[in-house]
Symmetry: C2
Subunit: 155 residues, 2 copies
DNA sequence: GCGAATAAATTAACATGTTAAGTAAATCAG
DNA sequence: CTGATTTACTTAACATGTTAATTTATTCGC
């Protein structure tokens, strides 16, 4: 009835190498490894960079939306925004229509900072594309999107 | 000469949704979301579970190897092993041939703990497989493996 | 052999991940 | 309109990520 236990341990757990959580983690680490020197050179963390990139794309956002878009938990975001605001990259104001919400904006300095790193970042990404091929990367992105959609559907 | 800027921001950065680091992160979060309740119920972190799974597969390992296989940094591993050892799941001894190395082993209790969670873990994975299809998951794993291999080759 | 270089693990310090609890504002039921 | 619930964000506490410095042991050059 059930499929054979090929690649399974005695406890019916798949080989770690062939599980989505670990394979996704390892793949991501392999990619990020190439970006870390750039981020470190400009004294910005991976997460801060992600938040700023998302802000550039989405424009002024409330914390909940930003948290979701950048895949950063709300408590982490609260702390990070203190750092980013101290550096002059973001500002925060109360939503005039709903005093609970905090609206976050990228400052001109923040946009300028992204513009500074953009060429090198694009070059690193291009180097990765050169290894895999743009089509292959697009295919992988499509597959990951499919995974996301499949798991998002109501159970 | 260059490809058109479809899906690029004014700074030639790809849309965040279509970048490997963010897509991989989001995909992984979507998967892990389903495992977290199980891990939380047994008071074990994702990383601790990963280390134990790797230990089960690889057998006694030194810290460097374990760190690499489980994608956990050495300082994190040092701290985690204190917790795991206190719970009686792992033991640590000096390598008799090289006193710098620490050899880590899974105890019987550690193996028993994995055996306890294995059925539920396998069930969660099976539910994910039911949504995506085993073939599609295998394909995704192959693609991730290809990505890993491509980036690992000497530059 | 011996000192310099290298390697393995740990410690330290700070940022982020993660869950739970707390605070303040908006919404809902009656 | 008012008390209870819900929502948005923050704070707290602890684990892990991350880099740098430290410690101890091994290896290399001579």
């Amino acid at each position: 009835m059930t499929t054979p236990d090929k690649g399974k341990t005695p406890d019916n757990l798949a080989e770690t190498r062939r599980t989505l959580p670990i394979a996704l983690l390892r793949a991501r680490e392999a990619v990020m490894e190439r970006f870390r020197p750039l981020l470190a050179a400009h004294d910005i963390s991976e997460q801060q960079w992600r938040v700023m990139r998302v802000l550039l794309e989405a424009g002024e956002s409330d914390a909940t939306q930003l948290s979701r878009l950048a895949n950063v938990l709300a408590p982490s975001l609260t702390r990070m925004l203190r750092t980013l605001e101290a550096r002059g990259f973001t500002t925060l104001r109360k939503d005039p229509g709903d005093a609970r919400r905090a609206l976050i904006t990228l400052t001109d300095a923040g946009r300028g900072f992204i513009r500074t790193l953009a060429p090198e970042s694009a070059a690193i990404y291009a180097a990765i594309e050169a290894r895999l091929g743009r089509d292959r990367i697009d295919h992988i992105l499509d597959e990951l999107d499919f995974l996301l959609q499949s798991l998002a559907e109501a159970s």
